[in-house]
Symmetry: C2
Subunit: 157 residues, 2 copies
DNA sequence: GACTAATAATACGATATCGTAGTATTTTCC
DNA sequence: GGAAAATACTACGATATCGTATTATTAGTC
């Protein structure tokens, strides 16, 4: 395991410059913006805070991201009637278009993995990966002051 | 597999805000700066380009990161006598100190994982994970990029 | 109901990142 | 051996991110 880390460090930890199509999309939009689009696509509607938490960035950053996406006509904003402090963000058809393009790329990546592993292996990988993630993602107690940075996840085994 | 993505999206995709100690360190230094320190620690000496490649950020960004680390007295720079275009970066004792703190945190994370999985599970996870990564990272042939993948690491702790 | 605390979001200034242009050195190849 | 291409960096302006202060709304307590 020690060497896993070493391997990761040694081989560099670049997360995402994997598919050329992604780089292509990143010519026009930030990675954060692209991720935001995908997240919104999955949730249909989402508040700014939720988005911040899901992206793992401060809310003030999401404010900026949202402004840029709005300016480009990719998202719509409307106040939540249930809680008028919140703003619900959703995709415009143009934004949906772009998010779909992203999904195509993502699905291609998934297919590559599915092609490389047997179904059994894939299943195993997912199970083990989740287990490991869960172990890492300890929810620390007591010490407040962690806010948007902290997202805890609910894993059903 | 579809739900893997969904899970990842639902649970947020920020990799690193996991251990409170990391957040503590990030009060003083950027994540990039911390990663840079760790990378330099592992390689002992490394050029700016290599660092950029390992971090997965543009060289111009590394120039800035380097300047900040230098200013804080955490790294040293010297021209490579073998290739006077390059600059070799290494840790000062103060930088090493900090990198070691990072490693302590990382090792704690590793231990958490090791505690959660049996040795066989862990091994399998690593194997499968690498296989999947490799599948993803295989970009179309032709212009080759050839990233580092040979590990043979020899560090005395 | 009114007061206080908590939450959701934005504004704004400070810092980090990135793309591109420019400089210096090395490699290629004739 | 020397011109042209490639490589390693830095400088600099544009954009993105972040922390903090501020405003608006809701939740909690008496």
């Amino acid at each position: 395991m020690e060497h896993l880390i070493r391997f990761l460090l040694q081989s560099g930890l670049k997360p995402f410059s994997i598919d050329p199509a992604i780089n292509e999309l990143e010519k026009n939009l930030t990675r954060s913006e692209l991720l935001a689009l995908i997240l919104i696509r999955f949730k249909k509607q989402i508040t700014m805070s939720q988005l911040a938490s899901d992206l793992g960035v401060p809310l003030s950053t999401v404010t900026n991201i949202g402004q840029r996406l709005k300016r480009r006509g990719l998202i719509e904003r409307q106040r939540d009637p249930k809680d008028r402090r919140s703003i619900l963000v959703s995709l415009t058809s143009e934004g949906m278009e772009l998010a779909n393009q992203m999904m195509i790329v993502l699905n291609r990546l998934i297919q590559r993995v599915e092609a490389a592993l047997t179904p059994e292996e894939l299943n195993q990988l997912i199970q083990l990966g989740m287990k490991a993630l869960k172990a890492i993602q300890t929810v620390e107690t007591g010490g407040e002051k962690e806010q948007a940075r902290l997202r805890k996840i609910q894993i059903s085994d």
